[in-house]
């Protein structure tokens, strides 16, 4: 495959994405320094970071795609696989564990038919564990999208996700 053909496979980042990335570049000493910001910007627009997006970002930041992938895969909130419209981040750190997060995780898995790391067939939800969310006085807690749900109960999960196959 010629270089031109390869280049044509790499999608161009949107003007909006480029503007946001360039605004970050303006206050750092070299382009690759905004790697994480750029990944987050593209993810905010596209939901996740595909191989093609990764290559386009790397090219814009004048770094290799491999190096950028090393950064992307380090961070648990950069998604290198497609995720649902809303990501459920269920805290499973100590204060939430004491208050029964394992039971809640089993409940959500049964309601939505997905294990940790999976996405519902209708593409609505992805379920992931997350580090202590800093709301331990309200344990157990989870984030759905950007919304924090505190003092979680099975009843609250029923209201959010329906009864499921119990």
């Amino acid at each position: 495959m010629s270089e031109r053909e390869t280049a044509s496979l790499i999608p161009v980042l949107s003007a909006q994405e480029l503007a946001a990335i360039d605004a970050e570049i303006a206050h750092v000493p070299y382009r690759a320094a905004v790697a994480i910001d750029a990944l987050k910007i593209v993810q905010a627009h596209r939901g996740w970071v595909s191989d093609e997006s990764l290559q386009a970002i790397a090219r814009h930041l004048e770094m290799s795609a491999e190096e950028l992938d090393g950064v992307a895969t380090f961070y648990n909130l950069i998604y290198r696989r497609p995720v649902g419209e809303q990501v459920i981040l269920l805290c499973n750190s100590i204060s939430c564990w004491i208050k029964g997060c394992d039971r809640l995780q089993a409940k959500i898995s049964s309601q939505l038919g997905i294990a940790l790391g999976e996405t519902t067939p209708d593409n609505r939800y992805t379920l992931l564990p997350v580090t202590c969310l800093g709301a331990c006085d309200k344990a157990p807690v989870m984030l759905v999208g950007e919304e924090l749900h505190e003092d979680l109960t099975e009843q609250a999960l029923n209201r959010l996700f329906g009864e499921g196959e119990t």
């Binding site: 100590i94 004491i98 331990c136 984030l143």
Partner: protein
């Protein structure tokens, strides 16, 4: 939750409302906000400010308790060209810690005022707030607050008409606990994998992009303008013991009223648990507690009358850490408790050094075997060996793995009979680890 008690000085939470509604610039100024900045700029030199900070005995509130003034004194203060950086560590992720969220969401301007005076003291010209990805609301409030400060002349060029200028940015992270380690945080802010760096060189000399850099926790920086405005003696007088100031203390677990309160430094453990957290929930007894987050050693009922300050808790064999306690009750399995923490630390290892990358999953596996009834008597020796080798500072690249060993080593000391019951009885004697 009532944070303000009559007659007691609570500088950090004076603008925290019952409903946790954020304090905007107008309300902040109406309650004396930016008075510390106005009283210092153009009147106190950076050296004056540093001396006040040193005299105040403020110690780092992120967990290590290192004297803040001393930390700052290593920043070169010559006129050599190039940037100097101040970074606020708002990457609150220590399990069981929920104090910085309160300060960030309820009073963002307090942090910004503290940061401006801190940056002025070390003559930094750029400041970053490194905030964890999940604190969406706090990041938005901080961005709005920074914009409001630029309009008012508190940030930007020639602050309040002086020749001092400072720009401030919010950097929202992308996850991973290790980013809270200050050199890993710097790596992450540079757009790299968050591997910690070897010290020396220390960040004060060679930090962000190789330039002098100070990284401080949210709560530490929130104290700074109060100290500069009201003086070192005032700050010293707030503490009940030899340690100065107030402290954001918290309690989570099976207590009646889990929460976070600003109290005088050195408030006794018993008072925090029994009066502020309301004592144990009905039907539960206290067995032990981690004093300040997931990487501190257990203390038990014999330690309830100790003062919660860095030195007292340190002498008792633990660390005050973040000051937010996690309670172990009598119906929760200590082995399951430690296993949860070990799995957390194994997951969050950056993978850079072998003892941490391979050792923590090994410890987690042994604990899982014991909890699941597959344990062998020799597992107790294996765990003890892991504590010795992985827990020793110097065997690992950073403090994550030694921190991971602290709850385990103290559980082996205080709850050994629980481990033995698991080994002798074919698994966990508690119902679902006690979390059902």
């Amino acid at each position: 939750m009532s944070l303000e008690l009559p007659g007691q000085d609570r500088p950090l939470t004076r603008n925290v409302r019952e409903d946790r509604r954020p304090t905007d610039l107008a309300a902040y100024e109406a309650n004396g906000g930016y008075r510390g900045l106005r009283s210092a700029m153009g009147k106190l030199s950076p050296a004056d400010c540093l001396q006040i900070l040193k005299d105040s005995n403020l110690r780092g509130r992120g967990g290590a308790g290192f004297p803040t003034g001393m930390k700052w004194s290593f920043v070169p203060m010559d006129d050599s060209p190039g940037h100097k950086y101040l970074i606020c560590n708002a990457d609150e992720m220590e399990p069981g810690t929920f104090k910085d969220r309160l300060l960030l969401e309820c009073d963002p301007h307090q942090l910004i005022e503290g940061m401006i005076l801190s940056a002025y003291t070390i003559q930094a010209d750029v400041a970053y707030i490194f905030i964890r990805a999940e604190y969406h609301k706090a990041a938005q409030l901080l961005r709005e607050a920074i914009a409001a400060c630029k309009e008012k002349g508190y940030l930007g060029d020639n602050i309040l008409g002086t020749d001092y200028s400072l720009e401030m940015h919010v950097h929202a992270s992308a996850g991973r606990y290790i980013c809270g380690e200050e050199t890993a945080l710097i790596s992450s802010l540079e757009g790299k994998r968050a591997n910690p760096r070897a010290k020396p060189p220390f960040p004060q000399v060679s930090g962000l992009w190789g330039r002098p850099t100070i990284v401080n926790n949210v709560e530490t920086l929130c104290n700074v303008h109060h100290i500069i405005e009201r003086g070192a003696d005032w700050f010293q007088s707030l503490g009940l013991t030899g340690d100065a100031g107030t402290k954001m203390y918290g309690v989570s677990g099976r207590v009646k009223n889990p929460g976070c309160w600003e109290l005088p430094m050195g408030t006794p453990v018993r008072e925090i648990i029994e009066e502020y957290a309301g004592g144990m929930a009905d039907g539960y007894q206290l067995r032990g507690f981690l004093p300040g987050g997931g990487s501190t050693d257990f203390l038990t009922t014999q330690h309830l009358d100790l003062a919660m300050d860095y030195d007292t808790i340190g002498k008792a064999g633990s660390r005050m850490g973040t000051g937010t306690m996690i309670i172990l009750d009598d119906k929760t399995c200590p082995v399951g408790f430690v296993k949860n923490l070990m799995e957390f630390f194994a997951r969050e290892s950056c993978g850079f050094c072998t003892p941490c990358r391979d050792g923590l999953p090994w410890s987690a596996q042994v604990l899982d075997d014991i909890e699941g009834g597959r344990g062998l008597p020799e597992d107790m020796d294996t765990l003890a060996r892991q504590v010795t080798y992985i827990g020793a500072m110097g065997n690992t690249h950073c403090a994550l793995a030694p921190g991971a060993m602290e709850p385990l080593q103290s559980a082996l000391k205080y709850f050994r009979e629980d481990f033995e019951r698991h080994l002798n009885g074919g698994g966990c004697p508690y119902c679902d680890g006690g979390t059902a």
